[in-house]
C-alpha cells in the first residue's frame, strides 16, 4: 500500500518553492528601494548644484543676489554651535552614563532615569525648540544667539550620548575593574583610569553621531527664530548666527520667488551631506579601529 503520492508531493512542493522564490525577489526589491531613493536623491542634488559649488560659494557671505551668495556665515555658525554642543553633551552625557552604570543602585530611581531618557529620545525635536524658545531665548533673555541654540541642541542630542556611553561602559569587562581594585585603587580611580579610557572609542562614536544629528536638525532652530539672511559673521557664542539647514530651508521656500535659490539650496545640501558623510566615516573608523574586543 502506498501512503504517499510522490507526484502530488512533488507538485505541491514545486509550487511552494516558486512562491518562496517570488517572495524572496519581492523582499529583495523592497530592500533595494532605499538604495534607489538614495541614488536618485544624490543624483538630483548633485546635478542641480553643478556650477554653483565653487570656492566663492564656500567663502562668500550671504547675499540676496543668487550669483554672489555664499555659505560662509552658515559654516561659521555651525562651527560655533558645535563648540557649545560638544562639551556640554560630552560632560552631561558621560556623567549621566557613569552614574547610571557605576553608581546608581538598581531600583526605582535608576529605572525612572532610564525610562525618562528613552522617552526624551522620542520627543519631537520641534518640542525641544519650544523649550529653548521659552527658557533660553525668552525667560533667560539670551535672544536667538549661538549659546541659546547650542543649549537647546545639547538637550536634544543628550539621550544619544547617554545611551552610547552606557553601552561603552557596560562593555568594559569586570576583570579590568577587579584588577584595578586589587591594586588598591578606589572606585573613582578605577573609573577614571580604567573604565573611561577603555570605553572612550564607544563614547566618542556616540558624541560624533550626536553632533551630526545636531548639525542636520532644522526644526528647533526655526522655532528659536534663527535668521537666515544678511547677518554679520558670528564671532563668538553670544552672536546671532545661522546654520546650513536653515540656509537650505529659506532658499527652498524662497525658490518660488527666485528660481536660482533652488540651485543654492541644492549646493548647500551637497556641502551639508559632505560634512555629515565625513563625520560618520570618522565615527565608523573610530569604532572599527580603536574599539578593542574584550
Amino acid at each position: 500500500m502506498k501512503y504517499v503520492d510522490a507526484a502530488q508531493v512533488q507538485k505541491k512542493m514545486n509550487s511552494r518553492l516558486t512562491v518562496n522564490n517570488i517572495a524572496k525577489s519581492l523582499f529583495l526589491a523592497a530592500t533595494l528601494i532605499g538604495l534607489v531613493v538614495l541614488v536618485i536623491l544624490f543624483y538630483r542634488v548633485i546635478s542641480q548644484s553643478m556650477g554653483w559649488i565653487d570656492l566663492q560659494f564656500i567663502t562668500n557671505k550671504l547675499s540676496t543676489m543668487a550669483d554672489r551668495a555664499g555659505i560662509m556665515g552658515a559654516i561659521m555658525g555651525t562651527l560655533w554651535l558645535m563648540l557649545v554642543v560638544a562639551p556640554i553633551t560630552l560632560f552631561l552625557g558621560v556623567g549621566t552614563a557613569i552614574y547610571l552604570e557605576e553608581y546608581a543602585k538598581k531600583g526605582r530611581l535608576q529605572r525612572f532615569l532610564q525610562t525618562n531618557i528613552s522617552n526624551l529620545a522620542g520627543v519631537p525635536s520641534i518640542v525641544f525648540g519650544i523649550l529653548g524658545l521659552t527658557i533660553f531665548v525668552r525667560a533667560a533673555g539670551l535672544g536667538n544667539i549661538v549659546l541659546a541654540g547650542g543649549l537647546t541642541m545639547a538637550l536634544l542630542v543628550l539621550p544619544i550620548v547617554v545611551v552610547a556611553s552606557q553601552e561603552a561602559i557596560r562593555s568594559v569587562p569586570g576583570y579590568l575593574r577587579e584588577a584595578s581594585y586589587g591594586m588598591g585603587a578606589t572606585k573613582w580611580q578605577t573609573i577614571k583610569n580604567i573604565v573611561l579610557p577603555a570605553s572612550l572609542p564607544g563614547i566618542l562614536t556616540g558624541v560624533i553621531l550626536a553632533l551630526s544629528r545636531a548639525i542636520g536638525e532644522t526644526a528647533p532652530l526655526v522655532v528659536l527664530g534663527i535668521p537666515a539672511l544678511l547677518i554679520p559673521l558670528p564671532e563668538g557664542i553670544f552672536d546671532k548666527f545661522t546654520v546650513l539647514p536653515m540656509q537650505i530651508y529659506y532658499w527652498t521656500i524662497d525658490a518660488a520667488l527666485v528660481a536660482e535659490y533652488a540651485n543654492l539650496a541644492a549646493a548647500t545640501i551637497v556641502v551639508l551631506l559632505f560634512i555629515l558623510l565625513v563625520m560618520n566615516s570618522i565615527a565608523v573608523i573610530i569604532r572599527n579601529k580603536f574599539q578593542r574586543r574584550f
Binding site: I33, L38, R44, Y103, V222, V223
Partner: protein
C-alpha cells in the same frame, strides 16, 4: 627619629599617606553626588518641557474653551473672529502619518524579513549601512527632495494635485522611516532562536513559511513596537511637511490638497512673531502640548509592548 634610607622622615610619609587617603575619601564621597546631579538634568529637561507647555496651555484654555479646541473644524488664528479648532491640524497630522506608514510598514517589514531570513552575511553587511545612510539624512534634505522632485512627478501622474499637498510629504516621510522599521524589526527577528527555524525547516517548510509562520509571529512584539515608534516619529516630523504640504488649514480628507500638520503650525506661528500674551501665541503651546502628549503616549506604548511581551527563549 627613624630616618628613611633616602633621608625622608617616616612620620612625614605617614602623614602624606593619610592626607591622600583623606582626599581620596572626600573625592569618593563627592563624585557620586555630583554625578547624580548631572544625571537628574535629563529629568529637569522633561519637567521643563512639561511645565513650559502646561503653563501657557492653561492660559490658552482661559481664552478658548476646551471643547471648541478639540472639536472645532475651523482654524483661523488671525484677524477678527479668530477660531482655534485643532481638528484641521489633527487630520493633517494623522493623514500624513497614515500615508507615511502605508509606505514604511510594508517596505520596512519586507526589508527586515529579507535581511534577517534571506540575506547572506556579506549582503547584509552591504545593505544595512546603506539603510543607515538613509536614516542619517537630515529631514530638511527630504523636504527639499519632496518639494522639488517628488511633487512634480506626482503632479504629472495625478491631475489636480496641488503644488503643495499632503501626499508627497507623506510618501517621502515614509521613505525616511523605512530604515527605522527595518532595523528594529530585523533586531526582533534576529533574536528568534535558530532552533525554531530549524524545527520548521525540518518539517519541510520553505523559507517563506518559516519567516511568515514562525519568525514573524515569534518576533511580533518587537515588530509592533517598531511600528508604534515609527508612527510617533511621523507625527513629530516637521521640516518635510512644513516645506511640501503648505500652510492651508483645510479640514479635509482629500490627500491631493494642501494641509497643515501640528508641527507645521508651530513653525508658522513661531516664524510669524506672534505677540507674547495673545491667543495666537498661546495656541502655539496648546498645539505643542497636544503633539507632545500624542508622541509621549506612543513612546510609552512602544516601550510597554517591547518590555511586557518580550519573548524569553
Amino acid at each position: 627619629m627613624a630616618k628613611h634610607k633616602d633621608g625622608v622622615n617616616v612620620r612625614e610619609l605617614i602623614n602624606e599617606k593619610k592626607t591622600t587617603l583623606n582626599t581620596n575619601r572626600l573625592i569618593e564621597a563627592f563624585i557620586p553626588k555630583f554625578l547624580m546631579v548631572i544625571a537628574t538634568i535629563s529629568i529637569f529637561t522633561t519637567l521643563g518641557i512639561i511645565l513650559t507647555l502646561l503653563f501657557e496651555t492653561v492660559e490658552f484654555f482661559k481664552a478658548v474653551p476646551f471643547l471648541d479646541f478639540f472639536t472645532g473644524t475651523k482654524l483661523k488664528p488671525l484677524g477678527e473672529n479668530a477660531q482655534f479648532g485643532v481638528l484641521p491640524l489633527l487630520t493633517g497630522t494623522i493623514i500624513s502619518s497614515v500615508i507615511a506608514m502605508a509606505v514604511a510598514i510594508p517596505i520596512g517589514l519586507m526589508s527586515a524579513v529579507y535581511l534577517s531570513e534571506y540575506a547572506s552575511d556579506r549582503v547584509r553587511r552591504i545593505l544595512k549601512p546603506i539603510l543607515e545612510v538613509l536614516a542619517g539624512i537630515p529631514t530638511i534634505v527630504y523636504g527639499f527632495f519632496a518639494f522639488t522632485f517628488v511633487t512634480p512627478i506626482l503632479r504629472a501622474i495625478i491631475p489636480g494635485l496641488e503644488p503643495t499637498n499632503i501626499l508627497s510629504p507623506g510618501i517621502v516621510m515614509g521613505i525616511m522611516i523605512i530604515p527605522m522599521v527595518a532595523s528594529l524589526s530585523e533586531d526582533a527577528m534576529s533574536s528568534v532562536p535558530n532552533a525554531m527555524r530549524e524545527g520548521a525547516l525540518a518539517l519541510g517548510s520553505t523559507k517563506l513559511e518559516v519567516a511568515w509562520k514562525v519568525v514573524v509571529p515569534a518576533a511580533m512584539s518587537g515588530i509592533v513596537a517598531s511600528f508604534v515608534l515609527a508612527i510617533s516619529r511621523a507625527i513629530g516630523e516637521t521640516m518635510i511637511v512644513t516645506i511640501a504640504s503648505g500652510s492651508t488649514k483645510n479640514f479635509t480628507f482629500d490627500i491631493t490638497q494642501s494641509m497643515q500638520t501640528m508641527t507645521a503650525y508651530i513653525v508658522e506661528v513661531t516664524g510669524g512673531d506672534a505677540p507674547a500674551g495673545s491667543t495666537l501665541y498661546y495656541s502655539l503651546y496648546a498645539v505643542a502640548m497636544t503633539l507632545f502628549v500624542f508622541t509621549l503616549i506612543m513612546n510609552l506604548i512602544a516601550q510597554y509592548i517591547s518590555r511586557k511581551y518580550r519573548e524569553e527563549y
